[in-house]
Amino acid sequence: MFGLNKKDTTLFIIVAAMTLLAPFILNPFPTDSALAQFNAGYPDLMQRFVIFGILAIGFNILFGLTGYLSFGHAAFLGVGSYSAVWMFKLLSMNIIPAIILSVIIAGLFALVIGYVSLRRSGIYFSILTLAFAQMSFNLAYSVLTPITNGETGLQITLDDPRVLGVSVAENGNPPVTNLFGLEMRETFTLDLGAWAFQFNIGFYVCALIMLAAFYVSVRIFRSPFGLMLRAVKSNQHRMNYTGLSTRPYTLAAFVISGMYAGLAGGLMASMDPLAGAERMQWTASGEIVLMTILGGAGTLLGPVLGAGFIKYFENIFSKINDNILHTWFAIMPDGLEDLLVTIVHPFVGKGWHLTLGLLFMLVVTFLPGGLVEGGQRIAKALSRKKKDEPKTPDASE
């Protein structure tokens, strides 16, 4: 279907179903129950899941296929955000022109950075991209204040000269981002028994764009172009002596990947029209790398899983404070309760990075192929039990 083989079509349908039904899947606990804090089905977080999913899918085209580890992808995200906000300020609050501009600008930016950085490979390439990203961050933070509004970040104001649209909405506030009139922030709530499911326009716009981005990435993975990118990772020496020029391939992958990041940045600004320099900082670039490796670099599904996993931790685990811990362990005797709270305390709330770090270490040590490899091992173990006879591992996987 749609030029995909059977296996990929199944994968795509599963991803599409999971994404579109996310408001249900991420909201398994009744609203008033004690476990409701583990629900992730609210618009803001769901939007972040899919937007970072796009970012990780794009990063995977570069890192997963060619093996070039870029430590500067957040720069493209930031450039995309700034471009989108400028489009909102100058042209219209419609998100389409904003997103188109962010993809184009991020692509051009990636072309320049890639052209220089791809002269080196390995650690030198990583350091070059990191240097470029930090340079962009510092420029956005200080020198380029007229464009980026420095520390405060670029925002929508009441005196923006919007060509197609009004500067001030009827209620006296700046107008909100929309898609031909559909407001991004609009949310419908479906009350079903004890559950309250939230359906947000912005989330569904992002989700559809993510599915399109995922589809394009599957096509790239399976195409001759994708094969060449994997060849780059495997043996550049042989490629050169096979009549192939590796530089244009890596540059094309870098630009496509930068455009994905720009798209993610544009969407981020479309959901919440402000852009700050911290979006370009190296920690943000590092997070993208973590997502991809945690999920499984070079696999189709891995980056999306990784992005969801990390964003879930960041938003859910970080909210568990001592009060909540005390209610959890309330049934224990007082002394034991305090002890347990003390033990768990460093791993939750502000310490969620510790949990994430430990999980990351475990995954990289025991599952080098990331969460996807974990899933495959479980599936293999189950099918072996069912068939009762050992099956030879599928080399074409």
Partner: protein, 252 residues
């Protein structure tokens, strides 16, 4: 006029004269061996031919065109393929993909943003690759990961990757180095078979005299960066200068 003409090529590395006025003429459809003791300049010469090194002087013409100053991928597109001392293959990819990549390179050139359709949907490429794998008796291993092949099969795969491009000239850099006698004989048979089946020119750099005398139609002996003699295998065997410079050492 040969298909490959090397004229007065010289190359220095600092104070070392690696090549001094090398002249070499490889005739079309012959197997030409280049032999010589260690440090004779064989590898330097090969690296000049594939564009990895640029000589200080002289000219190299392939099919009437100069190869000097061209990149390795450009030279490959002209019709020169190279087999390495240790097989250079795409270890992470499967055997079929390994053979399809050179087919794509031959069809689409050095770079093509070919994102349309899956790899398998390019039937012309797939059929050509399958035919090639059948020719080298590796069709049943098509789905194996290349890095899991035996050494002999890796060599076979690398040959297939070169041959599928229908090169005018195949350069072989010690194709049997480090191989057991049985594997060496297999490689000799494979090369003989290839020679019988297609019109191809081969230039072999080799240490193993057994291989050289089984395959070569012409032999050039290099010593200290200069060609000592160029002749048929029969004449080379008895040549006193060669005995002295190279073969003689083996009988010590």
């Amino acid at each position: 006029m040969g298909i490959l003409e090397v004229k007065d090529v010289g190359k220095r590395f600092g104070g070392l004269q690696a090549l001094g006025d090398v002249n070499l003429n490889v005739e079309e459809n012959t197997v030409h061996a280049i032999i010589g003791p260690n440090g004779a300049g064989k590898s330097t010469l090969l690296n000049v031919l594939v564009g990895k090194l640029i000589p200080d002087s002289g000219s190299v013409l392939f099919d009437g065109q100069s190869v000097l100053g061209r990149t390795p991928h450009d030279i490959n597109q002209m019709g020169i393929s190279r087999v390495f001392q240790t097989p250079e293959i795409f270890g992470d990819l499967d055997v079929m993909e390994n053979v399809m990549i050179p087919c794509f390179a031959k069809r689409d050139g050095a770079f093509a943003l070919n994102g349309y359709g899956s790899v398998a949907s390019h039937t012309d490429i797939r059929e050509k690759a399958e035919q090639m794998l059948a020719d080298v008796n590796m069709l049943e291993k098509r789905n194996m990961q290349a890095s899991s092949l035996s050494r002999g099969d890796k060599r076979r795969l690398e040959m297939a990757m070169c041959l599928v491009q229908d090169p005018k000239l195949l350069l072989l850099d010690e194709p049997t180095a480090g191989m057991a006698r049985a594997d060496t004989n297999n490689t000799i048979d494979l090369l003989k078979e290839i020679k019988e089946k297609r019109d191809i020119t081969m230039a072999i750099i080799e240490h193993d005299m057994h291989v050289v005398f089984s395959l070569a139609e012409r032999i050039t002996v290099l010593a200290q960066g200069t060609p000592l003699v160029e002749d048929t295998p029969e004449n080379i065997k008895g040549h006193p200068k060669v005995q002295e410079a190279y073969l003689g050492q083996a009988h010590d």
